[in-house]
Symmetry: C2
Subunit: 191 residues, 2 copies
């Protein structure tokens, strides 16, 4: 059971074009429903393989490392197809991981793209598809999550209780706004 | 009279050393007590004279321009001695301006520094000292404000009602955390 006032780190990447070699990744440490305690910034390579290590560093080297209870990520990949191995992150950081997406991905298209562009497509697909996508109903649209290190009911409850408006958990929404402003100069759109 | 749910933009600059030629300025649009709606980023020159123009641009070119009701700034200078002309900002943006500081500045030291390093020290001192510093009591330490475009009672009430914890108005606290992360990779300290 997680208390109301736990600290969650919400993580999202900044916008990029395929001309960029890397993009910003922002982690926002939120206490309770919406109190921002800190912001951490790093970078990942576009279509690289450093997302898992980058997130370990963001979480573990942060001065909030001890206090963070749950890691929430916008999607299972950052910077294009830079896949986050949720289990590796969970065991390195010792904190449950929830990845969130607003739309069901077209898995066939994803597979085709991975097979076309990446030599290690099999291991990438294994990382991306290891955990099933679970629907979470919200007052607005449903969202979909993958999780590890906690059970389904807990994961759903943490996600629901972290939403203020719409269907995006607040730590993810804030990470999106800040990452977007880092890159564009002004935040745009939703997570 | 300002309603509870108005939008305030809180502005702070990022940390810098005197080797830097410019530093980041961040504006955070906050609705009501703490709901972050957007983040805007720009830069000012260290000890330059572009702070007023930069803030005009941040406020007026933002997609939140119409909705922002009050501009709050951390201090009366950004990027060292880059002074913000509050009256010019107020008349250009059409929104009241409040500048906030946690400690009473040592005016003699400030004057000495300005006279030593700046040819236009007289006009800088005029901008910086035009409005008196008014003490605002909080549940924690008192803070000091300058304001224009609104009366003293309103300014005090807006400032007090924007504090969640400690003595720093939430829009300023958030701008500080984000600007600091932009520069250092991780937010540090308080506004």
């Amino acid at each position: 059971m997680y208390k109301e006032n736990i600290r969650v780190i919400g993580i999202d990447d900044g916008p990029f074009t395929f001309k960029n070699r890397s993009t910003v990744v922002v982690g926002v440490v939120v206490r309770g429903k919406s109190y921002v305690e800190g912001v951490v910034k790093s970078r990942v390579r576009i279509d690289g393989d450093d997302a898992t290590d980058t997130l370990k560093r963001i979480v573990l080297k942060s001065r909030f490392a001890d206090q963070i209870r749950i890691i929430m990520i916008d999607g299972i990949t950052l910077g294009g197809f830079n896949a986050v191995d949720m289990d590796e992150l969970y065991s390195a950081a010792g904190k449950p991981v929830i990845s969130i997406t607003r739309e069901l991905p077209d898995e066939t298209k994803v597979k085709e793209a991975l097979m076309k562009y990446f030599e290690n497509w099999e291991s990438m697909i294994e990382i991306i598809e290891r955990h099933p996508l679970i629907e979470v109903k919200t007052d607005y649209n449903p969202i979909y999550i993958k999780f590890c290190g906690m059970d389904e009911d807990e994961a759903k409850r943490v996600v629901k209780s972290s939403i203020i408006r719409g269907c995006i958990p607040e730590p993810i929404r804030l990470a999106h706004i800040i990452a977007s402003a880092f890159v564009l100069g002004e935040s745009k759109g939703n997570a």
